[in-house]
Every structure is written in C-alpha cells, then in structure tokens.
C-alpha cells in the first residue's frame, strides 16, 4: 500500500487530506460538543451541500464558472448558514434550538431544487454526500491545508478565551471578554472545517468525524487538554484505519472512516466499563 501511495498522486492527496481532517475536525469538535452545539455541524453540512449543488449548477450553465471549484460555493454557503443560525438563535431566544431545523431544512430543500434543476450531476453529488476521498485533487488538498492553518491559528490564539466561553458563557461575558465576537469567529471556523471535511467523509457523515472521537475522549479524559489529545488520537486512528480498510476491501472511504470511529467509541465505552467494574470489585 505504501508503494501505491508513493506512486499515485490521488492516494497521496487522499491520505494527506484525511490526516489533516482527522486532526482539525475532532480538535474543533471538542469545543462544539462541550458547548452542546453538536447538531450545528449537521445543519451547516446540509447548507454546505446547498452551496455545492448550487455551484455545480452554475458550473453547468455559466461558461465562465465552468472550472470554478464548487467547494468555494460550499464554503460561502456554510459561512452564510452559520451567520443565519446565530441570527435565528437571537430571534427565537426562548427556543434557540429552532435555528438548527430551520437552516437544515433550508439546506436540504435548496439542494434538492438545485439537483432537480441540473439533471446530470448525480455522481458528483453522491461524492459530496458520502465522500470521495479518491477524487481529492491537489487543489482540494491545498484548500484543506489553508483551512487547517486558519483553524489551528484560531484555536491557538483564542484557546484560553474559548475555554472560558465553553465552560461558563455568563462568566465569560461578566469578565469583559469579547464573547460575541469570539463566538462569531468560532462559527465561521466551524463552517470552514465542515466544508473542508466533506471531501473526505461526505456531507452526511461530516458531523460524525467532529463528534464521535470527542464522545470517546470524554469517557477517558479528566481534563480539557486531555480531551483534546484523546479526540485527535481517535480521529486520526479512525481516518487512517478507515482509509486502509477502504483501500484493501474496496469500500467507500467515508463510510469506513465513520464505522471505524463508531468501533473505537464502542471499544472505549466497553473498556471504561470493564475498568470501572474491576475497580468496584
């Protein structure tokens, strides 16, 4: 397999992008999960799909945009979706969770309309839905690298503020931290990460790479930094094992990555239970 990776550019792209996403998605996922925003990842991934299908449609109908990567439309839609979610959360402050189904249905609805208008990019759409890691181009890889750099810079610069905001939002505001601004930036970073992850696991599975490694990490860790480390380890394990399985068994990589994530989570839960039982005895 290593020989094949060295020979084929598409395999290099697949593994490199997988490793990058396996690092940033769970890292950001920790903040998403502890802030109880797991469903936002789902809503934004569906909005991203609307952007991508819209982009594919424009590729078909406008000659000037024929070679414009639809991922850019996906990124733009995802950012717009994150801004709209925030607006709706303020508008429905007593039922803020309503923002998620509103944006999610909007994303699915628009995607369906764009697909029906296009009549012809079913294969492309399937790739975006379930991931087509083998179709990751060098250009896609560079976009993923750029997004990863932005995400890591953001998390490094605002780590301490994000921790306070995640742990106790009221305290963060009372401390005079620019909570609204940091939250807004955070939402944009989430949108970027989702757009970057979808090539690997697909839009329908992207939230699993953000949440499943964190779910496993939270069973084992005592502190926040430990949670970050375990999440990244589980995320990378899922991506690498998933891609290897997909290569040898000729399976859909997105699916194998997510199934591996679930397997890791089940193993962690069972091991933790066994250890707890042993300690009690």
């Amino acid at each position: 397999m290593i020989e094949a990776i060295l020979h084929y550019e598409f395999l290099q792209n697949a593994f490199l992008s997988g490793i990058i996403i396996g690092f940033i998605a769970p890292l950001l996922g920790v903040f998403i999960v502890v802030r109880r925003m797991s469903l936002i990842a789902d809503a934004l991934s569906h909005v991203t799909l609307a952007g991508i299908t819209g982009g594919l449609l424009l590729n078909q109908h406008i000659a000037a945009l024929a070679f414009f990567n639809p991922i850019y439309f996906g990124i733009a839609a995802s950012i717009l979706g994150s801004v709209l979610i925030e607006r709706l959360r303020v508008l429905y402050k007593h039922f803020s969770e309503l923002a998620i189904p509103i944006i999610m249905s909007c994303g699915i609805g628009l995607s369906a309309v764009f697909i029906s208008l296009a009549n012809g990019f079913t294969t492309d759409v399937m790739g975006y839905l379930f991931g087509t890691v083998s179709a990751v181009s060098r250009q896609d890889l560079w976009i993923i690298v750029a997004i990863a750099v932005i995400v890591l810079l953001f998390l490094t610069i605002f780590y301490k503020e994000l921790f306070v905001l995640s742990f106790d939002e009221e305290y963060a505001k009372a401390s005079g931290l620019p909570a609204t601004m940091i939250h807004f930036l955070f939402m944009i970073i989430v949108a970027l990460t989702i757009a970057a992850s979808m090539r690997i696991v697909g839009i329908l599975l992207v939230s699993s790479l953000i949440t499943l490694p964190v779910a496993g990490a939270m069973r084992l860790s005592k502190g926040f930094k430990e949670t970050l480390v375990y999440s990244v380890v589980f995320g990378e394990m899922a991506v690498i094992i998933g891609l290897i399985l997909a290569f040898y068994l000729d399976l859909a990589p997105g699916g194998t990555i997510v199934v591996t994530s679930i397997a890791i989570l089940i193993i962690v839960i069972l091991c933790k239970k066994a250890v707890q039982k042993g300690a009690q005895q």
Binding site: E161, F167, D168, Y171, K173, S175
Partner: protein
C-alpha cells in the same frame, strides 16, 4: 479625602418585556464593605447584579470604580461567582486547575498566553479557599460546596478588588454553608476584599457582613448591619412575605 466608591448606582431602573423589575435603585459600595443584597425571590437581586456586571443594560447612572460602566475596562478588578446551578455542565471535562487558571484569561489579555507563574497563582488561589488538594480532580466530581470554593478561587486568581457572588450557597450542602460564609468573612477581613453577596437566605451570615441592602424592585432598606439589626422583626417579616420567618 472621600474615597471613590467601588460601585455607585443612581436611580437605576430596569424593565423586562414591559414588566418593571427595578425601580429607581440607588446604592453605593465602598472599599472594604461586605454588603448582603437581600430580598425575596423575584425581587430583582440577580438582575441588579447583572447590571453591575454589565450583562444587562439599564436606565440610570452606573459607575464602577468611579468610571461610567460604558467606559469601564478593568473587568479583572471584579471577581464574579454565579449561581452554581446555572454556572456549568457538571459533565464538562475540565480539571480544577484548568477552571481556576481560566480566571486569568481577561487579565492576561487577548492574543497573549497565560502568564508564566499561572500554576503558582492557581495554587495560591486554591489555598485561599482550602482546595489545594483537589487541583487535579475533575470539577464535576466535587460536591456543590467544593465547586463553589473552586469558583471563588477562579474569581480570586486575578486579584480582584471586588468579589460579587450571586446566591453562592444554592445547591451547597447545608452543613458546609457556615464554613463557606466563614471563608468569605476571612477574605473580607484578612485579605481586605470588598464583597457583594446576593442571597435570599434569611440565615445569611449577618454577624459577618458590614452592610445590608433590602431589595424588592426598589431599595426598602440600605444601611449598616447595626442599623439593620435595629429594624423591627415584623418589618423584615413583612418585606419577605409571610412564608419566611425572620431569625
């Protein structure tokens, strides 16, 4: 020379969805005060606290350390301890050390790392509240009283001039309430920390505080503890409502 009050409120009013919550509240907290802001449930105590902390905007004049609240930037001078029940998700994966250290965030400043002596400061703050042995424990594993001590340590770590506590004994085991108040008294007397304590607890530490403000949409009483103790018990009983017996 007259000292600048730490908190100065003049004719502060607040309305929530056209319901008046606070009506012309005027209050002053001086350096070294230990003020108990008391009143029945729904009297506007927590709202007033949120206004002082800048979490809510109200009509009237509000000054912190002599500066209008809109210009006030030194939030690290104010340590805030919220109601335990609202403060955090007990499943949150964080150690006591991480929680206390987060109290330095504002003081360290945006785009800057934590100070190098952060670990030492965490230890000192935990020692001040008697929780140094728990530094590596997960916050959710601690009892309600221990968690509140940790949150006070988080407030103390930035070396505030004013400590503001909103119903800190809610959810705290009754046997630990007195020792909790003793600790606040020590912080006030030995460490010269000015304290505003919001409570509906009629058995709050009235032997340890210096001033009392009784709030029920408006200030019904504001004065020293000695003046408060001279009030007829029936009066306090009436302010609180018939379901509470004044002690």
């Amino acid at each position: 020379m007259m000292k600048t009050p730490y908190v100065e409120l003049k004719n502060v009013s607040f309305t929530y969805e056209s319901n008046p919550v606070l009506n012309n509240v005027s209050l002053s907290v001086e350096e070294g005060d230990f003020l108990a802001l008391i009143g029945p449930n729904g009297s506007g105590k927590s709202t007033l606290l949120k206004i002082i902390l800048g979490l809510l905007k109200a009509k009237g004049e509000i000054k912190l350390f002599g500066e209008p609240i809109s210009d006030f930037q030194h939030h690290e001078w104010i340590g805030y301890v919220s109601q335990k029940s609202n403060a955090f998700n007990s499943g949150f994966p964080a150690t006591v050390k991480e929680v206390v250290q987060s109290g330095l965030t504002k003081k360290a400043g945006l785009f800057k790392p934590m100070p190098k002596d952060a670990k030492q400061k965490v230890m000192e703050a935990l020692k001040a509240v008697g929780m140094e042995k728990f530094i590596n424990r997960r916050i959710g594993e601690l009892s309600g009283g221990q968690q509140q001590r940790v949150f006070i340590a988080r407030a103390l770590i930035s070396e505030p001039k004013l400590l503001v506590l909103d119903e800190p004994t809610v959810g705290v085991d009754i046997k630990h309430v007195q020792s909790f108040y003793d600790m606040l008294s020590e912080l006030n007397k030995k460490h010269h920390l000015t304290i505003i304590l919001v409570t509906h607890d009629i058995e709050a530490p009235f032997n340890q505080i210096s001033h009392v403000a009784f709030l029920n949409q408006r200030i019904l009483f504001y004065g020293s503890i000695d003046e408060y103790n001279l009030l007829p018990k029936e009066q306090i009983y009436q302010w609180y409502g018939h379901s509470v017996r004044a002690v």
